[in-house]
Assembly symmetry: C2
Homo-oligomer: 436 residues x 2
């Protein structure tokens, strides 16, 4: 089962898909060359929106959950890619502790942890799960949504190392987005930590990611000769917003107007008659929290109390004061009348699978990654590396290949983004040392 | 469908399998470390023999055919592994010419070429097939055993490059074992050639491979604490044999006796009551040519004319004068009463699949890789990276994982072997330059 594209405006996208298929060898060489220049994230997932006339990433997750939603037939791909990633990042390590989110009631998330553990074990690693849950008294077994049994053990600090009772790992694999900041137990470890803690949401900003993505998308667009807008959402940002106190509204309104006018111009250029919209998101937000859809600058003035409350606090109770205003990309894919958006998974530089987030209760201009489990996952039926060049654009293997290409652009942007964060952190540390 | 092990002597092998499963993280780390020290062959296939009490490689092919025999479900694994190999060997290349064997009447071989082409294209390479067939007048389409259409084009030399009409490739992928020597058209190219021509059978020797394998097997055996003999066939060699002229018989007889006596000792040690046997093979032989089974030193004296003829000439009409005498490893796997031996495929450092060579007309002490297509392939049903540690040794996923481990030992030995050949070739070139 594959979602239908329910827009007639598929001309530009089918052109894009055709171009991506035709220029495949150049595109793959370009990726090889770019990925050899940067340290690729250990793993990532990218939310795409497919408007028919445009295909773009709207969020890149460096601590992806949802591995349980992938087609189990392709787990061997995850295993191969993990072997490759480990070979690059920490070839000497064999014992790993996997540090998940603290959700123990989200049985789907626990299933994700069990799946990740199986993938890591498939790559021949010895893996145990070390939990940050403060009141986890001792090793505790949970049953996941898939019926697997998963043992969570309390993570313990010992000098400059973390470990479990009777288990001293060589490396730490983090599947916790660190929205609440880097927990002291993980700070300053001598063990390899993958991904680096700097990639957590206490330091990461969506605007920095999309800033890096701008350059990647431009380079890619030049490579295949397209308008970069076809794969890149316009965005802007505000950095002194307080929804609760109604501060920063002017900045918000001005930037919403800027984004909408840019989109309006593009829509006119391509003859798109839909209404432009924008998404306002917490710049460090995740889990679908702190997000709203706006269609005019007025929409961000005079927000009602409920929306202001919703927008002011995100995961782990963090206050929102930086926001990104991103072009809304319609999702014109639909499954049985429900809106669907693709999520692509990568390990190392490899696309390992994907699924559709299918949402009955949401519109084609809304965020589908809601808190909780309201969406229904629909695993891709084929892998993302087997386009059928004789087939039509829009055929699932071709559409999936194109998804994989755009998702890898976002992955490359994440690599650049983390690198730049590392440089900034080093500079700050040096400045601090100089003044000390 | 999975072959049955038809021997009761499975104790030591089940011990080996149990050990391999239990020590998996150490084994995988060991492979990561070893493979990072050597340039892994681009691709390879390894013939294994599974005697129940012993599991060992008996031949390692660096220009593997038979990709058409793999389970098509796992072609995405081949694609991932190829992406990884290309990233290491020639990241900048995007256009490749694939140079196959000259067999145009073996439709299964042509199917292998079509499959390889699909895998390379899956990795995003532009691939055309450049044939060495002398009388191929122009581009000619063939239909393969699988019904695919395959275009062979005459390979052309242009200065220090090869290419096809209107196609100037960046790299050459060789699927021709070069038994007849390196064709002048491929010598001294400025393009990257993968695998290196030195790996062809005009320079390669089985004895050198198994010499390298001795060290690898010993290191591995030490790692997991086993007798290296359990994964390593005893071998010896003779280098001045002429079967047609009955020269070198004494050397042959002495070495057969040496190998058999070593095996006899091991059989006694492990309580194995089967009769030891040895395989005499052309040291540069391939395609199952120039091979015979012997059970005593007398067997190599007084060979009849037919056997002498069979042993004296191998593929491409090459004369045999170097032979390897290798411990025969019984194959105690059987499918519906027919003898079966596993063949494992690797691309880069990854096991990508395998199949059983099933042969009705051969015995458990005979070579199953006969000229032509007398064997029936049986693709592995699962990949080789998903052992079920809770399952019993002998369960297919566990047996396949163990096959993959032993095959990777042979792959590692091939890496060392090619490296040593390169060093020798450089030394010879330097010596030649010094005397010039």
């Amino acid at each position: 089962m594959v979602p239908h594209l329910t827009t007639s405006l598929t001309g530009p996208l089918q052109d894009l898909e055709r171009l991506v298929l035709d220029r495949r060898p150049e595109i793959e060489r370009w990726f090889r060359s770019r990925f050899s220049e940067h340290e690729v994230p250990f793993y990532s997932s990218v939310d795409l929106r497919n408007a028919g006339f445009k295909l773009a990433p709207v969020d890149t997750n460096l601590f992806p959950g949802g591995f349980n939603n992938l087609n189990p037939d392709f787990l061997p791909l995850c295993v191969h890619a993990t072997m490759s990633a480990i070979q690059k990042l920490c070839p000497d390590a064999q014992k790993f502790v996997l540090v998940p989110e603290n959700h123990t009631r989200n049985l789907f998330y626990l299933q994700n942890v069990a799946t990740l553990k199986r993938i890591l074990e498939g790559a021949g690693l010895a893996v145990r799960v070390g939990s940050l849950i403060p009141d986890l008294a001792g090793p505790t077994e949970f049953e996941t949504a898939g019926g697997d049994r998963l043992l969570l053990e309390p993570l313990r600090r010992n000098g400059n190392r973390v470990g479990l009772e009777g288990f001293d790992p060589c490396a730490v694999i983090v599947n916790n987005d660190l929205s609440g900041g880097v927990p002291p137990i993980l700070a300053g470890l001598e063990q390899t930590v993958v991904p680096p803690l700097i990639a957590g949401w206490s330091t990461r900003r969506k605007s920095q990611h999309f800033h890096a993505y701008d350059t990647v998308a431009e380079d890619f667009a030049e490579l295949i000769g397209i308008d970069p807008w076809l794969v890149n959402p316009v965005f802007s940002q505000c950095s002194a917003v307080n929804f609760a106190e109604k501060e920063g509204e002017d900045c918000l309104a001005a930037n919403v107007e800027y984004v909408l006018s840019e989109v309006r111009e593009k829509y006119a250029q391509y003859g798109i008659t839909e209404a432009p919209f924008a998404i306002v998101k917490a710049d460090a937000g995740t889990y679908g929290m702190g997000i709203m859809t706006v269609k005019s600058a007025d929409d961000v003035r005079n927000l009602n109390r409920r929306t202001r409350n919703k927008m002011s606090v995100i995961k782990e109770g963090q206050q929102v004061n930086q926001v990104i205003i991103q072009e809304g990309v319609y999702t014109f894919e639909d499954v049985d009348g429900a809106v669907a958006e693709p999520v692509i998974y990568m390990i190392d530089q490899f696309v390992v699978g994907g699924f559709y987030r299918v949402h009955n209760a949401r519109g084609k201009d809304e965020n589908l990654n809601s808190p909780g489990m309201e969406f229904r996952p629909l695993a891709f039926e084929t892998d993302c590396h087997s386009p059928d060049c004789a087939g039509a654009p829009g055929d699932p293997p071709n559409r999936f290949y194109t998804y994989g290409v755009v998702a890898r652009l976002a992955n490359l942007a994440a690599a650049v983004e983390i690198e730049e964060m590392g440089v900034r952190a080093d500079e700050e540390a040096a400045a601090l040392a100089a003044t000390a």
